[in-house]
């Protein structure tokens, strides 16, 4: 059996972005995931997002760990930098890469196993440090590569493909993020690109760690009756907290004045996120009420999606550590490594 290839059809009408690239230029290799995997939809959303943002492919770094989810960076933006790290260690590699070159757009793709089991410690510190990157957690509640055991995000009572219910409490990455001081927390669904693409754009615009927990059904091991992460369950239980709009700062904003219940959050780079249908009193900047709200939804068996929490006033890892303004690669070697005399002087200061 050979894997199919997506042919390049030379249609004259393919739209181009500001860089003169088509959406096909933001694609990667063909996916070898199962047909119908939610991760492939996330890939398509990321492809479309970078195309629409006109991000130069060579200024993107895509990172991942191990798992079905961690295969996906191969499937988008073939011209980007990439690093496929050890299991659960994407966060550490990303931190190092970001420290060395703060000028790239970092996107890390991980899964519920990679992030919430083996890698949970690293993820926690990544959030504490507020590393400027997009962290996509493709969450399907099972270990797909090892044939469908429950992962740390499986809900109590959710049934495996063989009918056995899960009895261990799940870790909710959003709740984890709230307690770790994360500054951008969103949840979405692979089957809802209308919501996911604006969220991804906002995550790129956010300065700091932007975690998007994307419920991405495992079509092979977790798309059955009794699963709480199936396509059907999501469609029946998804509660969109927020209708989102992403308005890049370059564009003139000429939309009609929005409804009274709409809120606007200006991102660091001047772009705006707009929210509609926000329930009374819901403020995505108020950590305490957000926490309470999500817990309440969860108890009702509902899955709140949208940009759930954002804090645009915090510092990212570079500000906290007072690092140089530019990438280390752009600093002349003589300054980056000023020699043994400078080192001796530094050591002298610590005596």
């Amino acid at each position: 059996m050979t894997s199919p290839t997506k042919p390049l059809i030379p249609l004259a009408v393919l739209p181009k972005n500001e860089l003169g690239l088509t959406v096909r230029d933001y694609e990667g290799a063909m996916s070898t995931l199962c047909a119908g995997c939610g991760h492939d939809s996330v890939t398509a959303a990321i492809t479309q997002m970078f195309f629409e943002l006109s991000t130069p492919p060579h200024l993107i770094a895509k990172l991942s760990g191990i798992g079905c989810s961690s295969k996906t960076p191969t499937y988008f933006v073939r011209g980007a930098h990439g690093f496929n790290s050890a299991h659960g260690r994407m966060a550490t590699i990303a931190t190092g890469a970001n420290a060395a070159n703060r000028e790239l757009t970092y996107i890390g793709i991980s899964g519920d196993g990679d992030s919430l089991s083996i890698g949970i410690g690293h993820l926690s510190h990544l959030m504490r440090r507020n590393v400027n990157m997009v962290y996509v957690l493709e969450n399907n509640g099972v270990y797909g590569l090892t044939k469908g055991q429950f992962s740390a995000s499986a809900d109590i009572g959710s049934r495996s493909k063989r009918g056995v219910p899960n009895v261990i409490a799940p870790i909710d990455p959003i709740m984890l993020g709230l307690s770790m001081g994360a500054t951008f927390l969103a949840r979405s669904f692979s089957g809802d690109k209308e919501q996911l693409i604006p969220l991804l754009k906002a995550a790129v615009a956010h300065k700091g760690l932007a975690l998007i927990d994307v419920i991405s059904p495992c079509v092979t091991f977790n798309d059955h009756e009794g699963s709480t992460k199936s396509y059907r369950f999501m469609r029946e239980h998804e509660v969109k907290e927020i209708e989102t709009d992403f308005v890049p700062w370059q564009q003139e904003i000429s939309m009609p004045h929005h409804k009274d219940d709409a809120r606007e959050i200006i991102m660091h780079d001047g772009s705006a996120m707009r929210f509609r249908s926000v329930p009374d009193g819901y403020d995505p900047r108020d950590r305490q009420s957000v926490e309470e709200y999500i817990r309440e939804r969860h108890e009702r068996g509902e899955i709140a999606t949208g940009l759930l929490y954002v804090n645009e006033s915090s510092s990212d890892v570079h500000e906290m550590n007072n690092t140089p303004e530019v990438a280390l690669s752009k600093i002349p070697y003589s300054r980056l490594c000023p020699g043994s005399a400078a080192l001796s002087k530094l050591q002298e200061d610590f005596r």
Partner: protein, 605 residues
């Protein structure tokens, strides 16, 4: 929108652009796949079922299929459908045992066909196997009609024409050569059960200008008459400087024939700019390749005759307004020449049909007909081909004739002629495995293959030297893979869809969308890629189970790669081969579609 009714054969038929555009609805992707498999006999027979003359049409068809071909919308050039047809014809073996034959016992009905051109021969092809006694009355001593007398041999060799006409005559049609019908009244008196008129549009249009009928009129020719004289060997030379008036396909045949009869300086004179030329673009190309000049914006005014000798022709050089409706004269020029050939059109000639027989004629000397049944106002007389609605082309003549044959069969069997058998279809899954299909589904990026021609230095040596050499094996292998298999349809079952978006994400031309329903105008703007080709349908599913949204497919540039079906986890998408079952007189079909080796290719249902 309402869910698309794709159980109506017309829906999928329209997706197969070439087949829909072909007047005879030839199963183009079907025979191209057979060529790809090296099954030339089967490819030829599948062709012959609908178009009767694959060898002839593979050279001189007007190819309505090619401008319609989906490949044009993908990479700019259609599949070379016509020339692939020729490949099947050139490489076929002996197929005589698969052809229909006349039954020993006749059905007692006598039918007269006037003219032995493509229309009449097709009627004979359809009726002889049903037991009709068919008599063909031909005014010349050879069969073929315009294919014989108006198409020069360097485009259509006599042996190809002879073979495909003779095969029908040999089925058992009684052909009378040198037998022009001079009176319809006399023919009617012979008590045929039905008469079919397939005499073409044999009269070349005249250009009445000063000097036309002076002494030099021997050097002023009417195009189709002149071509006929060349075909029969009555004319074998022409002056060195020749002007062709008119720029249709006949003009192209006249100018290229002139080059082979001694013409050195041959010019085609057009009144209007190039975009208004009637000739097919490829015929213009072939003429220009032979160094024939095509001069635009020259309106003929008079023949210049000095001392009884044609010395030139006077033209107004004109300038046209936008849309080329009105012109202004810039200057007047005389272009010297030795011969002028008038190729400005042809028309019907029915002086032999008496007007008191009940056969009514309308404008332009064309008979009043029912367009579907081709029955005239005299119920036992039918028309087809150019004889019916004025000059069209061979493939239209064949299509008319199939239709007329159904009418004649009904008429002779006492069935109302408008009670016609309907087309039906079959859809069969092409799935062979996880990622395997029984057709070659991979998009092939080859560009259209260039036809090889005899070198310019050699091709004028003889008038019967065929210019086109046909595709070689490698060209054929590449060209067949350019076909997008539009007949292998994307079939969708809404009830199985889990809305995972896999098909939408994989589609290389972004022709799929899941969205909320709306009216067509609105939906067309809300798709993954806007559906702005209004000639192409958008397909809409039943509401999907989970969200009640709908799956929408824009047919426009679907390359039928099957990736949607390959990526679908629930087999909601499938690739299913569409076959149109076209009814012919007496439901007598040659199915070049046999599934198992050893099956008879011929079935009678």
């Amino acid at each position: 929108m309402e869910p698309t009714n794709d159980q109506d054969p017309n829906y999928f038929h329209q997706v197969v652009d070439c087949q829909w555009a072909c007047p005879a609805h030839t199963d183009v992707p079907g025979y191209i796949r057979l060529i790809a498999q090296g099954r030339f006999d089967d490819a030829y027979l599948l062709n012959r079922e609908s178009n009767v003359f694959p060898g002839i049409l593979g050279r001189v068809c007007d190819r309505p299929c090619e401008p319609a071909c989906r490949r044009t919308r993908v990479d700019g050039k259609p599949v070379a459908i016509c020339r692939l047809k020729r490949v099947a014809s050139d490489l076929k073996g002996d197929i005589s045992e698969f052809l229909p034959t006349a039954p020993d016992e006749k059905n007692g009905k006598r039918v007269a066909l006037i003219g032995a051109g493509p229309a009449s021969l097709t009627v004979a092809n359809d009726l002889v196997p049903l037991g009709y006694e068919v008599t063909i009355l031909e005014k010349y001593d050879k069969a073929g009609g315009l294919m014989r007398v108006n198409i020069p041999e360097f485009r259509l060799p006599a042996d190809v024409l002879d073979a495909e006409t003779q095969v029908i005559i040999d089925m058992g049609a009684d052909i009378h050569y040198n037998s022009p019908v001079n009176s319809m009244r006399e023919l009617l008196a012979q008590n045929y059960d039905a008469i079919f008129v397939g005499v073409g549009a044999p009269k070349g249009k005249e250009l009445e200008l000063p000097g036309r009928h002076d002494d030099a009129s021997g050097h002023i020719h009417i195009g189709i008459e002149w071509l006929k004289s060349v075909a029969f060997g009555h004319i074998d030379s022409v002056g060195e400087r020749v002007l062709i008036i008119g720029v249709g396909n006949t003009a192209m045949d006249c100018c290229r024939t002139s080059m082979r009869l001694g013409g050195k300086d041959v010019q085609v004179m057009a009144r209007r700019p190039r975009e208004y030329f009637k000739a097919s673009p490829w015929e213009l190309d072939d003429a220009e390749e032979e160094n024939i000049a095509i001069t635009v914006n020259h309106s003929p005014q008079r023949f210049v005759i000095e001392n009884g000798v044609l010395v030139g022709m006077e033209f107004d050089v004109v300038e046209w307004d936008e849309g080329a409706r009105h012109s202004t004269v810039l200057e007047t020029v005389v272009i010297p020449c030795d011969d002028v050939i008038l190729a400005i059109g042809q028309e019907n000639a029915y002086e032999w049909v008496e007007r008191d027989l009940g056969i009514e004629f309308g404008e332009w000397e064309t008979p009043v007909l029912n367009e579907e049944t081709l029955q005239s106002t005299l119920p036992n007389v039918f028309f087809g081909g150019d004889a019916a609605f004025g000059p069209k082309n061979i493939i239209w003549a064949v299509a008319h004739a199939h239709s007329a044959a159904i009418s004649i069969h009904n008429f002779c069997q006492g069935v109302p002629v408008d009670e016609r058998p309907q087309a039906s279809m079959t859809l069969v899954s092409q799935k062979m495995g996880m990622t395997e299909w029984s057709y070659h589904n991979e998009y092939n990026p080859s560009s259209r293959q260039q036809m090889n021609h005899v070198e310019l230095t050699k091709r004028f040596a003889a008038i019967d030297l065929e210019v086109e050499l046909g595709f070689d094996a490698e060209q054929t292998a590449r060209e067949v893979q350019r076909c997008l298999n539009c007949d292998v349809q994307t079939a969708f079952k809404a009830s199985l869809c889990i809305e995972c978006d896999a098909c939408i994400d994989i589609c290389p031309v972004r022709c799929l969308t899941i969205t909320s329903n709306g009216d067509e105008e609105d939906l067309r703007t809300r798709l993954s890629a806007p559906a702005d080709n209004l000639d192409q349908a958008i397909w809409v599913s039943e509401p999907l189970p989970q969200t009640k949204r709908v799956m929408v497919k824009d047919e426009n540039v679907c390359v039928h790669c099957g990736l949607c079906a390959q990526r679908c986890p629930t087999a909601a998408w499938d690739m299913e081969k569409f076959e149109l079952d076209i009814p012919y007189a007496g439901n007598f079909n040659i199915l070049g579609k046999s599934q198992f080796a050893g099956d008879s290719i011929l079935t009678r249902s």
